[in-house]
């Protein structure tokens, strides 16, 4: 009886889990990308350019793309769980800022540890810019190859600025006050509008921290961590940043408070920009690349005419980080190899293959972006060319800290508390201080007040 049960159980497991390998090696690639859906360009590139070309070059390898349609945080969950049990895709798209926490959790291994020392011989390393290489680097080791980077700016609706009497083509605000003044001018002629969008709140997740809080905080000359890597939990910069939020969303209604609080707020903010409700939107080049092109949901009609961009000013000229007048921040994504992959050599072959110039150029043909490789041209995109040239020299990166993700959540809470009018900036900062101290320990925090 017992034996029969065991046979039955084994049979069930066998029948459902054993796939018959038709090829010598199967490779699974996952990205948050769906053809016709999220990050369609990436999916299309991998499916239609990379995989056929790779399989042609490696006839014994079969590559399958898993198109993940959920949210970023959900993919993070799945990867973390899978990597912790030795399961999961062989190669996966990965946001650089998660690398420290994955590495510390034992969920990622450096590329040479997984695939062998020949990783270091790859010719492409030299072609990567210093800044972009560091996106997938932690404590001097490489955990993946970056695909591209980005920069952040204020996207403008020139038509609306003009209506408010601003010379839109030559307008470049040099302080927060100038941005606010422009918004006030627009609000005056269009009382129903919400001229500024500076992301805040929990619902937008990391987009609040990256596109909102950081852009303001850098303008006060501060970062989330100090030079020693300790988290700043109370400072004049934080207060000024929160007061900026308060001015925009609570005191003067220059921004759409609802869009910061509702679950689908980010899309509402995009729609506001499309509909001319918002004229000054703090976002990355992603907004231009993926959100507003013709044919997409938030396409701005007659985009080349009405849409412009300006650099994000510091609070006052020269008050920004490193004494800059203007600030920006970059993040980046790339691809990593599952430390438990059954086919490390093939996975590395695929990973490096997709980052060869030929494949990168194929990607650019589908969707131009700021690449990590210095030897790839940005084809026919004045916007990307101009922004990357102007902003990459000014840029900053997020701290390479395993606790950053958790602290970022607290930042989102802090901004939400202010934007919703529930807490004063002082109270919100006090709450932030308590929460971050509990997270990382008092010894890893610093108060500048």
């Amino acid at each position: 009886m017992k034996n029969r049960m065991r046979a039955l159980a084994l049979g069930l497991i066998g029948a459902t889990s054993v796939a018959i390998p038709a090829f010598a090696v199967d490779l699974n690639v996952t990205c948050r990308c769906v053809i016709g859906g999220v990050n369609s360009g990436t999916a299309q590139w991998i499916q239609e350019s990379v995989i056929p070309a790779f399989e042609a070059a490696h006839p014994d390898v079969k590559v399958t793309l898993n198109q993940f349609g959920g949210e970023d945080a959900q993919l993070t969950q799945q990867l973390a769980l899978d990597f912790s049990t030795g399961a999961g895709p062989d190669v996966s798209a990965f946001d650089g800022f998660l690398i420290p926490s994955f590495v510390e959790g034992g969920l990622l291994k450096s590329l040479d540890e997984v695939a062998g020392p020949e990783v270091n011989d790859w010719s492409g390393w030299a072609a990567l810019s210093e800044g972009s290489r560091s996106l997938m680097e932690y404590q001097g080791k490489f955990y993946g190859i970056p695909l591209g980077t980005d920069v952040r700016m204020i996207h403008t609706r020139k038509d609306i600025l003009a209506e408010a009497g601003i010379d839109a083509d030559n307008w470049q605000p040099k302080s927060w006050e100038e941005v606010l003044d422009a918004a006030r001018a627009i609000k005056k002629i269009k009382p129903d509008s919400f001229p500024i969008q500076l992301n805040a709140g929990v619902a937008m997740g990391e987009a609040t921290t990256m596109q909102g809080y950081w852009l303001a905080l850098l303008g006060t000359g501060e970062k989330v961590t100090d030079d020693n890597g300790k988290f700043v939990v109370s400072s004049q910069g934080i207060l000024d940043t929160l007061n900026l939020y308060k001015t925009i969303y609570v005191d003067e209604a220059l921004g759409d408070q609802r869009a910061q609080l509702l679950a689908d707020g980010r899309n509402r903010s995009f729609a506001n920009f499309r509909d001319g409700v918002t004229a000054l939107l703090f976002e990355g080049d992603y907004f231009y690349r993926s959100v507003t092109p013709e044919g997409s949901e938030f396409a701005v009609p007659n985009r080349d005419e009405v849409m412009g961009w300006v650099k994000v000013p510091a609070q006052e000229p020269g008050k920004g980080i490193r004494g800059q007048d203007f600030v920006t921040i970059s993040g980046g994504t790339g691809f990593v190899i599952n430390p438990a992959t059954d086919a490390p050599k093939e996975a590395w072959a695929f990973l490096s293959f997709m980052n060869e110039p030929e494949m990168q150029n194929a990607f650019q043909a589908i969707q131009p972006r700021i690449t990590a490789r210095k030897d790839i041209e940005i084809p026919n995109s004045p916007f990307l060319t101009a922004t990357s040239q102007a902003l990459l020299p000014l840029t900053t990166a997020r701290p390479n800290n395993p606790n950053y993700n958790a602290v970022s959540s607290e930042i989102q809470r802090m901004t939400e508390a202010v934007v919703s009018g529930e807490l004063s900036p002082e109270e919100a900062m006090a709450q932030y201080k308590a929460a971050v101290t509990a997270l990382v320990g008092a010894e890893n925090t610093v108060s500048l007040l």
Partner: protein, 276 residues
Amino acid sequence: MKLTIPAFVGRIAFSALAALIGAIFALPLLWFLFAPFNARAELGLALPDPWTLNNFVTVFGNSYAVQALWNSFIQAAGGVILVGAAATLAAYALSRSSIPGKSAVTYILLLFSSVVSGSAAMVPIFLIISAAGLMDTHIAVILTFAGGLLPTAMFILRDFIDSIPKSYEESAMVAGASPVQAFFDVALPVIRPGIVVVVVWAFVNIWGSFLIPFILLRSDSNMPASVAIYSFYSEAGTPIVTLLAAYSLIYSLPVIALYLFVSWKFGFRFFGGIKA
């Protein structure tokens, strides 16, 4: 019997009140009756203009979404068979045998399951499924649901069986039937309405749930409709209202049909009531 005037007015008032509550319950769902047939549906309630079936054509053109409906069915049907069979046997044993401590068992399990239904237990369940090598299989989803739903199913069903006179099985045994014969010939058919309630309840639960398949499955070809529905979100993550409405309607039809079939065929009956 002739109704007095106040009684008549009372009955009208009762009917009106019942109808009103029914209408209020219907309100949030009204949108789903119109939007799928509307070529330009938005969040607002509007008569289809222009009227179209194209939304359904598009949805059926999405092979991933169609496959997902079938996956939902496999998982729900498998889970239901397992829950129904195991809960019936167990509830019968808890009701009819004199195993010591049986009255405490269902309460304790119910409490345990309240912990496990929370997301805290997703991690151990993931680890168990992963250790068993069942990741990304239907059987993983089926087993997990069966385990999670069983305590409540046993609770409902034991209440039901307790309310059925023991004389059915007693008469069968006096007549010469063994306990197993009495169970299959007599008890099982008599318990059937209770099993139906549990089965429908379990089916609805599995059919609609998102978190467990999401955590235990990986490949598109195994995902149920609750996950696949997100393929009708735009690149930016906003719902494509027309397609989402059409898919939601298709996705909802099986549970509605199941309910109507069951209430027509068996009637939806609960017993229950705790005997102190």
